[in-house]
């Protein structure tokens, strides 16, 4: 692959920090004795696509919820655009793993998307409708606007959740294992959908996943969280060309090396040494 395929965006990363996580920890129980998240330091650049991988139960979802202001940290600070996070910040949207549970079953697809709209921006009914239909068009669901969530497949439900997230016109998108419960082919489609949406905006994305290949395929950078109490043990720039391709990208040598390296990191301590 030649250098022209690497987008300028991918290179501009990490020059301007948007999210700054400094010595953040989270404990439970009296005196926070049961530490889930150790002391995490992590910087996310403006426009970067960062993945956080780690073994299950390592507290990666907790870390993401702390960034989203849904769960208070026990110590440390999180700055977004230089402002500390206290409660859910504006222009930041969280995409839940349980997409089926995160949609409102009593609202139609369009009404669910409209829930994410900022009422001060889209004032008139016609304006809101146009905005929703535009977003649904982007995720390929314009024809399903009047259906209810139970009438959709899992992949379609997750598309609605993505459209609703975009309706809030976010600067930061936090993805909590959003593709873990759809079938393998749908997952590939959703990967490319998210990438195309990310590439056409100035969105910053933080993805939490336990799927190493998903992390490599999507991200500019992959951070590895160790077991509880977790800290960032390693961080890799993927340095893979964009746009990524579901067939060609995984066939690259760099991809294979990263995959082996990350799996070694995640499995170390679990596999008996030869």
């Amino acid at each position: 692959m030649n250098a022209q395929n690497i987008t300028p965006r991918g290179q501009a990363v990490a020059q301007h920090t948007l999210i700054s996580i400094e010595a953040v920890s989270k404990g439970y129980g009296t005196g926070n004795a049961n530490l889930a998240v150790g002391s995490v330091d992590l910087q996310v650049g403006r426009g970067e696509f960062l993945s956080i991988v780690g073994p299950s139960g390592c507290g990666k979802s907790t870390l993401l919820k702390i960034i989203a202001g849904l769960v208070p940290q026990s110590s440390g600070t999180i700055l977004i655009d230089g402002r500390p996070v206290q409660g859910p910040p504006a222009k930041l949207v969280y995409l839940f793993q349980q997409y089926a549970k995160s949609l409102f079953p009593w609202l139609t697809v369009e009404q669910n998307v409209a829930f994410g709209l900022d009422p001060t921006v889209a004032r008139s009914k016609a304006e809101r409708h146009a905005r929703c239909m535009d977003l649904l068009g982007k995720v390929g669901l314009a024809a399903s606007a009047q259906l209810y969530p139970y009438q959709l497949s899992g992949g379609m439900q997750q598309r609605v959740a993505i459209a609703r997230a975009l309706a809030a016109d976010p600067k930061v998108l936090l993805l909590d294992e959003p593709f873990s419960s759809v079938d393998a082919l749908t997952r590939l489609e959703l990967h490319d959908l998210v990438l195309s949406l990310w590439e056409s905006t100035d969105l910053t994305v933080v993805l939490v996943t336990h799927d190493v290949e998903e992390a490599i395929y999507l991200s500019d950078r992959v951070a590895v969280l160790g077991p509880r109490p977790s800290t960032v043990t390693h961080s890799y720039h993927t340095d893979l060309p964009r746009p990524r391709d579901p067939v060609a990208t995984p066939a690259m040598e760099r991809y294979q090396l990263l995959r082996i390296e990350l799996l070694e990191r995640l499995l170390s301590g679990r596999r008996p040494k030869p």
């Binding site: 989203a68 202001g69 849904l70 409660g87 859910p88 504006a90 930041l92 949207v93 969280y94 839940f96 349980q98 549970k101 995160s102 409102f104 079953p105 009593w106 609202l107 829930f115 994410g116 209810y148 969530p149 139970y150 809030a168």
Partner: protein
């Protein structure tokens, strides 16, 4: 089955005081409908039942939501509800007669009370089991607390409210009949008991048929309403 009723009554119990042929019952029903005896009684019963149902449901939803959202209310009122719930409605009608008399005040109160319990219990458990993900979604979109209550919590609890009301509506009918029998002054329940005392079995069975129809109709109507409101819950 109707045929079996007719034949058994004609052949085995001719002139019986307790088992009139079904044709007699139907004829009696038609006559009492025309002369208004049954219609008046039916109207009274329906009025009591529906007002008791509405009052009991409203109170149940309000209390259930309040108890679900505020733990101190759950500890205090919740204990009282749990303690009073197993008391059969029939047992507290006599004491209530001294306080409320035997008119509609008594009957509507006791029907409301009987409807209140299933509605409050279901609303409470619905409020406690609202999926935290839905509330988190509302938070990440920075929706205000009142708006979250109205747009997220209330619809999420609605299926539970309807489950409570479905139990409540059949209990309302039963309690209406019980109250009219114990503190009789009109209504279908009183009519049936009165006709038994008066040894007029055809009228008595006609009353029971009307009650069965009423029970069937309320159930069907409620189902239709539930389907309309809760179509999204994919019943």
């Amino acid at each position: 089955m109707l045929l079996a009723w007719e034949i058994s009554a004609r052949i085995f119990f001719p002139g019986s005081r307790s088992w009139p042929p079904v044709s007699d019952v139907v004829v009696t029903l038609a006559w009492r409908m025309v002369d208004g005896q049954i219609l008046t009684a039916l109207g009274e019963s329906i009025l009591r039942m529906s007002s008791g149902f509405v009052l009991g449901s409203l109170a149940g939803v309000a209390c259930g939501l309040a108890m679900g959202l505020f733990a101190p209310l759950r500890w205090t009122i919740g204990t009282v509800v749990e303690a009073l719930r197993p008391i059969p409605a029939a047992a507290i009608i006599p004491p209530l007669i001294f306080i409320l008399g035997i008119d509609n005040a008594l009957k509507i109160s006791i029907i409301s009370l009987a409807v209140f319990f299933p509605v409050v219990i279901n609303t409470l458990s619905g409020t406690l089991s609202i999926d935290p993900t839905l509330l988190d979604v509302a938070r990440t979109f920075r929706i205000s607390r009142t708006s979250t209550l109205l747009r997220v919590a209330l619809p999420a609890v609605l299926p539970y409210v309807f489950t409570g009301m479905r139990t409540g509506i059949s209990i309302a009918l039963i309690t209406t009949v019980v109250a009219e029998m114990i503190a009789g002054s009109g209504g279908i329940g009183y009519y049936i008991l009165n006709m038994q005392y008066a040894m007029r079995p055809s009228e008595m069975y006609a009353g029971i048929l009307v009650l069965a129809a009423l029970g069937y109709a309320t159930n069907a109507l409620f189902r239709a309403w539930e389907m309309r409101v809760l179509h999204w819950a994919h019943l």
